[in-house]
């Protein structure tokens, strides 16, 4: 990330920040999508994160940490978006409709992916840790620093998430074995 651009953005240069948005946008969407598993909600989270980051940029003291700092803002936006979606879904009765869905090209793939079922059952905070660790390749201390969490919290979330994903896979294995004719 261009530190000069970050410094100009901190000083209030919208053009500089627009450049940072363009550079960071794809990466942010990739992270948000993997946490939320829904393209539109991920886009919403990215948009909120970009605006919130602009609002909070004057409080960023170290321009070198911009990327990690922006990731933390995005993860928080994902928490809010996931909560918003959950409350909406809890009350909305989805009625049958015959128009084809174009929202999530991954859905047909996801239906075949046993990991997906387990991942979608994880709380959002555990999903975020899994994505940062396994997708971005961040170490647990790096995650703790970026998200401002105690290292123990990161470790426990990753532990419980991994255990749940393992259980989902192995439960599927057992179900498959049980359904197989003798």
């Amino acid at each position: 990330m261009d530190v000069l651009l970050v410094e100009r953005a901190i000083a209030g240069d919208e053009e500089a920040y627009a450049g940072l948005m363009a550079m960071a946008g794809d990466r942010l969407l990739a992270i948000a999508y993997r946490i939320l598993r829904d393209l539109h909600r991920a886009e919403d989270a990215v948009q909120v994160a970009l605006v919130n980051a602009w609002r909070d940029l004057p409080t960023l003291r170290d321009p070198d940490r911009f990327e990690a700092w922006l990731t933390r803002i995005l993860v928080r936006a994902c928490y809010v978006e996931a909560d918003r979606s959950r409350r909406w879904n809890a009350n909305m009765r989805v009625l049958p409709i015959d128009i084809p869905s174009t929202s999530d090209p991954m859905s047909t793939v996801a239906d075949r992916d046993r990991l997906d079922r387990g991942f979608r059952r994880l709380p959002t905070d555990q999903r975020a840790i899994v994505v940062l660790h396994h997708y971005l390749g961040w170490s647990q201390p790096e995650i703790a620093r970026a998200l401002e969490l105690p290292i123990g919290t990161v470790k426990s979330r990753l532990f419980y998430a991994t255990r749940a994903l393992r259980a989902a896979i192995e439960a599927d294995d057992r179900a498959t074995s049980a359904e197989r004719p003798a």
Binding site: R55, P58, T59, R61, N91, R93, L95, S101, V130, H134
Partner: protein, 406 residues
């Protein structure tokens, strides 16, 4: 049994697939909000030591605990809890309602000329009974004025299309007619809010900066103006193609300037750029006559996908999100709008066209609902969500309801 390394590999493979790049639409939408976003000041970081990464954890803890202690001491000393002049600081709206206006603060004439009870009382909140907005429309000539869909402008005034003159009646929030506006007859941009069969309608949608788009119902077109009411362009004609209308009924605009037009003969919502370039159709075959969009571009319409009355929501790209069947609340939902907080309001009629209810869905929908006995055929609400302006079933008057802010 899956080994740890196998599991890690499977998770990493699972996380590999995903979207390649962020849509320009999202970047534009974020960019559009920058200039209106109030930025934090750097020094405020010192007021939130628990968020300051540069301090050690013990320092952050110490400063946070010290701040909390100081706050407790301040409260204990009565600095924050003093009651010396509490009444003087009370918000005017918190005062109990009086039965008549004092000389220094006279009640609005429209309200004083009407019964103190509302047209359709709101039994849930008797202390804030609704106030009829006005029965004092300028109806010179004796003929009642047929009104179209009311809409609140960014300056707080209410615009409602009026049929006889094919212009807008613009009212103050207190119900006083401020002006009647529209391009004069003979002007190429003169509106036509009447159909030959006697139908009357017309609608307007405002951008946050005051620019607006008029749904010119009888001319099957959308006309765009800037905040100074300078003509910027128009599009549309009768037809079934893209950018054409058969029975355009309602219009809305989102915060990035996308324009949505509901057509209840074509049963679809067409989405355009701010200057009229067709983008897509939403709810094709399923759209009702009324619509509203929230700040994020989510679209609500008043027809369920199976053709029954109800409320249906679509994502910004037109993907179906879900529907609410609410026969007990509003048998025939009609007008829909959002307030500045994103809360959704719906009004409608009973099956025999009597006023039904006004329902507020607190954003995000599903959290809470408020229901008032204040039905009608269309509604506009204040940005704060504390007043609703409901077009009555007659289509001739608008009633104002003071409702609790969300």
């Amino acid at each position: 049994m899956t080994t740890d390394s196998d599991l890690d590999r499977q998770i990493q493979e699972y996380l590999q697939s995903g979207p390649a790049e962020l849509s320009d639409r999202v970047l534009w939408a974020a960019r559009a909000q920058l200039s209106t976003t109030h930025r934090r000041r750097a020094r405020l970081a010192w007021l939130t030591p628990w968020r300051n990464l540069e301090m050690s954890q013990s320092t952050r803890l110490l400063l946070t605990a010290g701040g909390a202690l100081a706050l407790v001491v301040a409260i204990g000393a009565g600095i924050l809890g003093g009651t010396g002049n509490r009444d003087a600081g009370q918000h005017p709206s918190a005062s109990p309602p009086t039965s008549s206006g004092s000389p220094s603060n006279p009640a609005p004439s429209a309200a004083s000329s009407e019964p103190q009870s509302s047209v359709f009382p709101i039994p849930t909140y008797p202390a804030q009974s609704a106030v009829p907005l006005t029965a004092t429309w300028d109806t010179s000539g004796g003929a009642a004025t047929k009104l179209g869909l009311p809409e609140m402008a960014p300056d707080g005034r209410i615009w409602a299309s009026s049929c006889p003159e094919s212009a807008f009646r613009i009212l103050t929030p207190a119900g006083k007619l401020a002006e009647t506006w529209g391009p004069p007859a003979g002007d190429p941009h003169h509106f036509n809010f009447s159909m030959p069969n006697g139908e009357c309608n017309g609608a307007v949608a405002f951008a946050p900066d005051g620019g607006f788009w008029v749904l010119d119902f009888g001319n099957f077109r959308v006309v765009r103006f800037d905040r100074d009411r300078k003509y910027l362009g128009s599009w549309g004609r009768f037809g079934s193609g893209q950018g054409e209308f058969a029975h355009p009924n309602d219009i809305a605009v989102d915060t990035v300037g996308s324009v949505f037009v509901a057509d209840d003969v074509r049963h679809e919502i067409q989405v355009f750029t701010s200057d009229g370039v067709y983008v897509r159709s939403v709810a094709a075959g399923h759209a009702g006559p009324f619509l509203s969009t929230n700040a994020e571009g989510w679209v609500d319409t008043d027809l369920l996908p199976d053709g029954r009355p109800g409320l249906t929501e679509y994502k910004p790209d037109g993907t179906y999100q879900g529907g609410i069947d609410m026969p007990d609340l509003i048998p025939k939902p009609l007008g829909i709008t959002h307030d500045g907080h994103g809360n959704l309001y719906v009004v409608g009629l009973t099956l025999i066209d009597a006023p039904s209810t006004l329902v507020r869905f607190i954003a995000p929908p599903g959290g809470k609902q408020d229901v008032w006995n204040a039905g009608g055929i269309a509604v506009a609400v204040s940005s704060a969500g504390d007043a609703a302006y409901v077009l009555q079933a007659s289509g001739e008057t608008i009633a104002k309801y003071v409702i609790p802010a969300p």
